[in-house]
Structure formats: structure tokens, C-alpha cells
């Protein structure tokens, strides 16, 4: 089990277990929603939807049952911040769910934990049991006679697409993890057809701090359009890989310095579904208004073969496409074939350009986020590293 002292201004700042729930239960639901709106917190999974809006819609809905779901299906290549939050800061995540339950009027919370993280299950269950003992979960929480709430953990079974919120709900309902058409959104028609909030682990972990210290305090961190801090999962060619809490607006070169990266050629921001930036763009900042990301940062130094990197990403998407819609199912296979053609030196530029167009079609025509983002790497790597890839030895990738 990991147990390092981590440094950070927001998420990793000092927090005493129970504080957030206690404060939340002492104020009204409207006050909580006000602080949340004031904080301008946006979803930390990557899409960046305002959390207050999501909660407000579900809070206003009239239904027999409402649900709060914690999306812990962290599957994006290069992302491991949720692992750190769940192992080292479970109080933040679970209390965030309790506060959500109180605010929206839900009595049940579900954590959808990816199957690969099954090794955490028993310690998380133990933690939930200790929260029940302290009356942070269960009936009449902290003596509040109108509020019952409990959390259960459900395991995924090795499907990347289940990180997409409607696919996740399908999986919880006992079906294949195939994304639904949206609308209706989960806030109207979610788990079991009921109004449901689905939040990322990191989003939920921010809540107790916001309630405790106020939305204004939170907003002081980060930029105008991206408030607060972000956890970055840093891996690849650097001296100090790991999870870093940094304010939004940090530039890529600042981050590279912090983690001790040298001779960096490229940085993949946002995982396999993100974009690959060359040196010339290292002054761009990590924020919703510039390079938005769920926090995956993969660093490649001068010795790396970018075509090999791209091939690894495309193999990933071919395996993980759920196969439900044609642009994603067939498109990813075609893009991978294109990469293999370039690898062998058996390609025509005209065809590669057609594949880039196909990639753009996939972005608009695919049903869910997987297919809409899986061609990002293909397009950005072939564009930003064309000299390396096409001007090499006989078109054969400089081998």
C-alpha cells in the first residue's frame, strides 16, 4: 500500500476526516450548490462539464430514487491519479459522495471500480465499514434524522469503454458496456432509469475541500476558466514519474522541469485519446481553455520512435472499441493498417491523407467519446512528427 506524504494546495491540502460531511450537513442544500457554482468546478474525467449544473439538475428532479455514481473506471493509458486518491485519500472520495447524496437527495452511491484495481477492494470495503462505524455512512448520518446514505462498490471486468458514463451505467445494469444515445443524459435517465449523477473520482474528492473552505477559496487556484488544481499522472521518460497536483494553467515546459524530463521530443497529453505535442508547443498551458486533459501526461525523449508509439495507441483502440458503431469499429482497424503500411514503407501519401480524413469523420460520426477521440493521436502524431516518420530511410520510418 502506498503511503507517501503528498504536496498540493487543494486536493492534497490538510483535511480531517469527517469535516466536509459535518459542514455540509450544517448548511442547506442550496448553500452547497451555491458554493459549488461559485467554485466553478468542472468534471475532472476530461470532458469538463460543470459539476454544479449536473448536481442542480438531479437535485431538482422528482423521482422515487436517485443515484450518485463514482466513476473509478480509470482506463485511459497513462492515468493513475484515481489509484492514488482511492488508496491514500479514500475519505475525500467517499465523503464527496456522501455530500452529493445529501445535496441531490440520493440514498445510494455506487463506486464503479475498474477490474484491474480489484486489489484495492478489500481495503476500500474496510474503509467504508469504518465510516459506517463513525456514522459517516448508514442511517441518520451524524445524527441528521432525514439523511440515510450508503455506498457499494461494483467491479468492472476489463472494458475501457465502460469509463464512458452511459456504458458504465449499462454495465451496472448487467448489460454489455455499450454506450447509449445521448440525450437523454444520465441526469434525467440514468441508472435504472432514475436521475443519476456520474462523477469522476477526482471531481468527488474536490467536494469536501470546497464545502469546507468555500468556492471562493477554490477559485483562487488555477485560471479564470479553469478553477482549482489538477492531478497529473506523469509517466514515460523522466526522472520522477508519479502523480502531481498542480494548478491549472501550468505550462508543459514547467511540468517537464518539475518531473525532471530531459531531451524531451514529444508529450502525449490526455492519454491514447489525447493529442501529441511537439517541442514547439511546450509553452502551451494545461487548462480547459488551452490543452484540456483528464491528467495523463506521457513523455517521450529523442530516442523514441513516434510511429511505434502511434502503433501502440492504435492497437489499444482496435482492442477496446466496443464494436457497436461502424465508424469506430472499422475506422480504428483502418488507421492501424495505415500505421503498419507506413512501418513497412508500403504506402501512398494520398491514402494516408484519406485516412486522416477518415479520422476526422470518426470524430463526428462515432457514437461515444471513444470513437470520437481515438483518431486524435493518429492525426496529431502524423502531423507533428511527419519529418521523422516520412523523411526517414526510404520512407521506412528511418530504421
Amino acid at each position: 500500500m502506498e503511503n507517501k506524504k503528498r504536496k498540493g494546495d487543494v486536493l492534497f491540502s490538510k483535511y480531517n476526516r469527517g469535516e466536509g460531511v459535518k459542514k455540509a450537513l450544517s448548511i442547506t442544500r442550496e448553500d452547497i450548490l451555491f458554493e459549488l457554482r461559485d467554485s466553478k468546478l468542472k468534471g475532472r474525467g476530461g470532458a469538463g462539464f460543470p459539476t454544479a449544473t449536473k448536481w442542480t439538475i438531479v437535485a431538482a428532479a422528482i423521482a422515487d430514487q436517485k443515484y450518485i455514481i463514482c466513476n473509478a473506471d480509470e482506463g485511459e493509458p497513462g492515468t493513475f491519479k484515481d489509484r492514488v486518491l482511492l488508496l491514500e485519500y479514500p475519505e475525500l472520495v467517499f465523503e464527496g459522495m456522501v455530500i452529493a447524496g445529501y445535496t441531490i437527495g440520493a440514498t445510494k452511491g455506487i463506486v464503479y471500480l475498474r477490474g484491474e484495481y480489484e486489489y484495492m477492494l478489500s481495503s476500500l470495503e474496510d474503509y467504508l465499514a469504518s465510516m459506517r462505524q463513525d456514522n459517516l455512512l448508514g442511517k441518520n448520518i451524524l445524527g441528521n434524522s432525514n439523511f440515510d446514505f450508503d455506498i457499494m462498490i461494483r467491479l468492472g471486468s476489463g472494458a475501457y469503454v465502460c469509463g464512458e458514463e452511459t456504458a458504465l451505467i449499462e454495465s451496472l445494469e448487467g448489460n454489455r458496456g455499450e454506450a447509449r444515445n445521448r440525450p437523454p443524459y444520465p441526469v434525467n435517465t440514468g441508472y435504472m432509469g432514475m436521475p443519476t449523477v456520474v462523477n469522476n473520482v477526482e471531481t468527488l474528492a474536490s467536494i469536501p475541500h470546497i464545502i469546507n473552505k468555500g468556492g471562493e477559496w477554490y477559485r483562487k487556484h488555477g485560471t479564470d476558466k479553469s478553477s482549482g488544481s489538477k492531478l497529473f499522472s506523469v509517466s514515460g521518460d523522466c526522472l520522477r514519474p508519479g502523480v502531481y497536483e498542480l494548478p491549472w494553467g501550468t505550462t508543459i515546459s514547467e511540468l517537464l522541469k518539475i518531473v525532471g524530463a530531459k531531451d524531451t521530443k514529444a508529450v502525449q497529453v490526455g492519454g491514447a485519446s489525447g493529442i501529441c505535442l511537439p517541442k514547439s508547443q511546450f509553452d502551451r498551458s494545461l487548462a480547459y481553455e488551452d490543452v484540456a486533459t483528464g491528467g495523463s501526461i506521457m513523455i517521450f525523449n529523442e530516442s523514441r520512435n513516434m510511429l511505434h508509439v502511434l502503433k501502440n495507441f492504435m492497437e489499444f483502440f482496435v482492442e477496446e472499441s466496443c464494436g457497436q458503431c461502424t465508424p469506430c469499429r472499422i475506422g480504428n482497424v483502418k488507421l492501424l493498417e495505415g500505421v503498419e503500411m507506413i512501418e513497412k514503407g508500403e504506402y501512398k501519401f494520398g491514402y494516408i491523407n484519406q485516412l486522416k480524413d477518415l479520422g476526422k469523420t470518426m470524430q463526428v460520426a462515432s457514437k461515444c467519446g471513444l470513437g470520437q477521440s481515438s483518431s486524435n493521436a493518429f492525426i496529431s502524431i502524423l502531423e507533428n512528427f511527419k519529418e521523422e516518420i516520412f523523411n526517414g530511410n526510404g520512407g521506412g520510418n528511418g530504421k
Binding site: 497513462g78 445494469e173 514515460g236 506521457m298
Partner: protein, 157 residues
């Protein structure tokens, strides 16, 4: 399957259904428990799950076929899942994979003859800062070297 084995399986599934509740949303937890115990979900178990949850057996098969951690053919006692995604790849996944294949005498995708080990590649297991990484059943191993990986397998043998 022998009649006795069938009866035992039915009893086991009845217990799981009462544990998780007789609803469609219990399907995946039930299948996961069967998978964990038997390392696969036999045809007969699929039929029994379908009968007890009152859904068509093909629905059960459809769900199993969707998820990579559920399978309908037997696997080894230890399922070794080596991460193949780029961060682990750059930290030496290929050498670890070769060492494991040499040691067990099987390739990735195969199960050893004594049904002890199944080798599989996994997509990103969330240990990118400590790669190469692998998961064996419910345990995670990080910062592997070819030597360390082989040692871990030998301890399980």
C-alpha cells in the same frame, strides 16, 4: 459435467443469486464470482445463471463475450496479465514478456499444460509510473525486470 458437479454448481449459483438479488443488475457480480472460483464460466453455469435470473442464456453469453476478464473456456490457476500499453512498453515490457514465455514454455495467449498459468497482455493497468507492471489474479506487481518476473512466477509454481 457429472451430475454431482452440476448439482454443486446449481447450488453455488443459487447462493450467489440470493447474495446479490434476483435481478439483471446482479448478472455481472455473479459471473465475476464464478469466474474467480473456476477461472471460467462453463456452459452449464451460463444456463443456470440465465434460468435463475429469468433471462435468455444467449444474453448471458453476450455479456461474457463483451468483457475481457470473463471467459467461457478454462484458464490457468494463475492468470498473468502483463501491461502492454506504451508507458510499460517503454520501460522494458518486451524483455519481461520474453523471459516469462521462456520460463513457462508457452506464449502469450496460451495456458500451460498443467493448467497453472495463463499468459495474457492487458491494456493499461494504471501502474504507468512504476512499469513494467503485471497483475496476477488479484495482486499487482510493479517495476518488473525479466529476473524479478520469473522469480515471482517460480514462487507461485
Amino acid at each position: 459435467m457429472l451430475v454431482m458437479e452440476k448439482n454443486a454448481m446449481t447450488e453455488e449459483i443459487e447462493l450467489l443469486v440470493s447474495k446479490y438479488g434476483q435481478s439483471r443488475s446482479s448478472l455481472i457480480p455473479i459471473l465475476q464470482d464464478i469466474q474467480r472460483k473456476h477461472k471460467y464460466i462453463p456452459d452449464f453455469a451460463q444456463q443456470e445463471v440465465a434460468r435463475l435470473l429469468d433471462i435468455h442464456p444467449v444474453e448471458v453469453f453476450s455479456v461474457i463475450s463483451f468483457y475481457s476478464f470473463l471467459n467461457t473456456t478454462p484458464k490457468g490457476k494463475y492468470i498473468v496479465r502483463l501491461c502492454q500499453t506504451i508507458s510499460c512498453d517503454m520501460q522494458g515490457k518486451a524483455a519481461v514478456a520474453k523471459a516469462i514465455e521462456r520460463e513457462l514454455g508457452i506464449k502469450f495467449g496460451e495456458t500451460s499444460r498443467d493448467s497453472k498459468f495463463t499468459l495474457e497482455f492487458a491494456n493499461c493497468v494504471g501502474m504507468c509510473d512504476q512499469g513494467p507492471a503485471m497483475i496476477i489474479n488479484e495482486r499487482v506487481y510493479s517495476k518488473l525486470t525479466p529476473e524479478k518476473a520469473v522469480q515471482i512466477l517460480n514462487e507461485l509454481k
